[in-house]
Subunit: 480 residues, 2 copies
């Protein structure tokens, strides 16, 4: 198997060298004092007045020597553990939308912790998803429990790896406490840290923030799983050039990686991006555009050069409804990224450029994910699979329908989708002329109307609730 | 640029050799007597009683020596000429559906020559399409004018290359007469044959028909453009194995190619396929399945091995409406085929597994095609495009918005879609909460409400109509 490539080896090397030149000559504006200190100790030139950190090439090259080629997501249930890249494509929900499309009214509204519980349960059950990145915020969060109100309903209802971010170290520590309670002890949690952390400490162009950087440093020091995404937006925060945007994003990836490897050499990372091109007719953000896929492909080539797993927020849509646009934007960009060698896909369930979760979109994306996994499986070449004896036996003009070989393989050769319609038109009409979204919402309803098999035991739940007074209920509550 | 590959060089070679073994030992059932004679003269072993033709490997290998690496589509207007693979992806409408989704009622009905005229005009105007393969049949065809009633409205309203098939040699000769009238003379037409012919003479498994084979022989002998598509359907007409289906389809491609090259060595060809896996839960045809894309990718690797342009009916959907399924089926399979090196995409405008044309779907597929072309354009690597000076100038934390470089490149760096919505939700709501299909139908309406710039001159039209009495009107007539 050989990935698609835009670049020659020389071009990849040139983008790497150009990134080093930017880091050495232009540098990164680092707002986080702790990060500046770490960079200084690693050999960077820190201007404390301006906050600009400049990176001698050998500092970055030294950090590169401890990059590792895999990254692991652990779940509460080890059956759901995933290792990048070999278990890829690892398909993740999109995260942290403020809103949800209400499943009953179809109107957009603020999301709550009940929505998060419902979504967690759905993602636990949908076969295409590997990781639940907490899809929304929780408007009903009690004071001081902004993050607990997201992680508690998520972890209570989903045994797959759960992932998200926190706004500050206090919230992060609460979330890790929750992890330890679930694991039984802090030691047990550190053995299997099933909460997966993600931040965007790099703010394009060439800037590093305070709070997300704090969290990354904290987690890397503790040896807990964390990775960052770089998010240049061509025309606004990076050059209006695909190659220029990749170069700037690559420099930002190397800057963040140098921080991480300086803290703990060998800390696993993902080369994760959401590089986009702004629609300059309006200035609108366009993560659903085909350029997001093209940029992801190019970054993935760089990731392969560094031998770091690759992926990102790839497969988002700008559409506000789950329509043809939503389908082709998610479908084209994820397929493109996969064939360039991407293995992490933060793609599922969001409409309107990360603004709102939709249950039907999540069901759709699970089916798209099954297709991506089938492409990854690809052609299983073997002498037996050539079927020469079978072809000779059936002969010209014969039928394969009732052959033993057909019966034996008919359920495992192809994806058998539940929601995609393949009926003849007459049957489709007699069954109500549904579109895909209607059937996807029915599937969400079917799943969420059952008892949730993934829930915490009553005993564990009592322990958690007595540890954190005022906690939201955290239970899935379906009402379609 | 390097294409995605499933197979190693050895595996590709083994599929080629396995195909030769099938042709030598199992053979092809050839119903067409003329084809049997041509095969016999070329050195094949013809069993006149059974109709089975067996191919010594050296006969196929000799035919291979005259394969040519390009294929040209000519249009009435030379500005629309396309050469495969260098002008790829060449995007073509899906063809010969019996039905249309009526643009006014939304109901499916039989298609007419008026519909063909409307569609021809639309395809002439939609920027994503390169070739108009006549999308439907014409129910109103006068007796004896089955094919004229399709080609006349198509050629009257579209200056891009027009492509389709005919049921018999009499119809084919009428269509070529029409071509000569348009060109001014038979000689002028032979100089620039802007009608492009396509047939499916191979019927899986390993069978060659009578009528389509007649047409292929006729056209190749005349030096006119024609190519064939092979269409194995795993589980029914080929093994329930992806590798086995590729092997059988590849043998069929080689059999057809041997016929074509035996008639006229160096005749241009396309390695075109529509290999599918039947949904064995119901026996339903599933051209929208992801396996269609995976099989296309594998066939494309074989086409690259033979140095023949590659493509096929790729990007079809099973959906009966232009919804999320229609979007992701067309989007994923075309993207996959493109990144494996495919350059011909018979993808546009059809719903329900080739059963019905839909105007909104055609507009959608034009926008998907623009995205495919953008992927093909890819990363334009140059030292200038790295933008190192610009990145240094803007610096950490700066803005690219008002840079000269941004203004200069803002209209050419990214695709600027007309139908895909990128507005914030508030604006989308205030403008009517439309879905993609609604806006796509409006775009079809906008185009078809204008005067058609591509129409025949009145003088030419009189000449044609006096040559063919009783001809359908052939004019676009829009009524939304």
């Amino acid at each position: 198997m050989q990935f698609y490539r835009f670049f020659t080896d020389d071009q990849v090397k040139r983008i790497h060298e150009a990134s080093l030149e930017l880091l050495e000559n232009v540098g990164i504006l680092v707002h986080n004092a702790q990060a500046r200190a770490i960079y200084g100790q690693a050999g960077c030139k820190v201007d404390t007045e301006s906050g600009i950190v400049k990176f001698p090439a050998q500092v970055v090259e030294k950090a590169r020597q401890s990059f590792v080629p895999t990254y692991t997501f652990l779940g509460q249930d080890p059956a759901f553990d995933k290792v990048l890249p070999q278990d890829g494509p690892v398909v993740v929900t999109g995260s942290s939308a403020p809103n949800i499309i209400d499943p009953k009214t179809g109107e957009e509204r603020r999301a709550t912790s009940i929505d998060i519980a419902n979504i967690a349960y759905l993602i636990n059950e949908l076969p295409g998803f590997d990781v639940f990145s907490i899809s929304t915020l929780a408007e009903d969060a009690p004071a001081g429990q902004f993050s607990l109100s997201r992680f508690y309903p998520a972890l209570k209802n989903c045994k797959k790896p759960v992932r998200s971010n926190t706004p500050n170290i206090k919230d992060l520590e609460q979330v890790l406490e929750l992890g330890a309670l679930i694991a039984g002890s802090e030691e047990a949690y550190l053995e299997r840290p099933f909460i997966n952390h993600h931040y965007c400490p790099m703010v394009s162009p060439l800037t590093m923030d305070i709070n997300s950087t704090d969290a990354v440093i904290y987690l890397v020091e503790k040896g807990l799983p964390v990775y960052g995404t770089v998010v240049p937006n061509a025309g606004l925060t990076s050059p209006m050039s695909l190659t220029g945007t990749v170069t700037l994003g690559n420099a930002e990836f190397l800057a963040l990686s140098t921080l991480i490897q300086s803290i703990r050499p060998g800390a696993p990372m993902i080369y994760a991006v959401l590089s986009t091109v702004a629609d300059m007719r309006t200035g609108n953000y366009a993560p659903g555009a085909i350029e997001t896929g093209i940029l992801q492909m190019a970054h993935t080539e760089m990731a392969n050069y560094y031998h770091v797993p690759s992926g990102g927020y790839i497969g988002l849509t700008n559409s506000h409804v789950n329509d043809a646009q939503s389908g082709y934007e998610t479908g084209m960009n994820t397929t493109a990224a996969l064939l360039a060698g991407g293995s992490l896909f933060n793609m599922g369930g969001l409409l309107g450029s990360l603004m709102a979760f939709d249950f039907g979109k999540a069901v759709t994306d699970s089916e798209i994910a099954m297709n991506l996994k089938q492409i990854q499986r690809g052609m299983e070449f073997s002498e037996e699979n050539l079927c020469l004896d079978l072809i000779a036996k059936v002969g010209p003009g014969g039928s394969y329908m009732s052959e033993k070989h057909t019966v034996k393989n008919m359920r495992k050769t192809a994806v058998l989708p539940k929601i995609a319609n393949r009926d003849m038109r007459g049957r489709w009409e007699s069954e109500g002329r549904t579109d895909y979204q209607t059937r996807a919402m029915r599937e969400a309803d079917r799943i969420l109307s059952k008892e949730n098999p993934a829930r915490f035991s009553a005993e564990l739940d009592r322990k958690i609730r007595s540890h954190f007074p005022n906690l939201v209920a955290g239970d899935a509550k379906w009402y379609l």
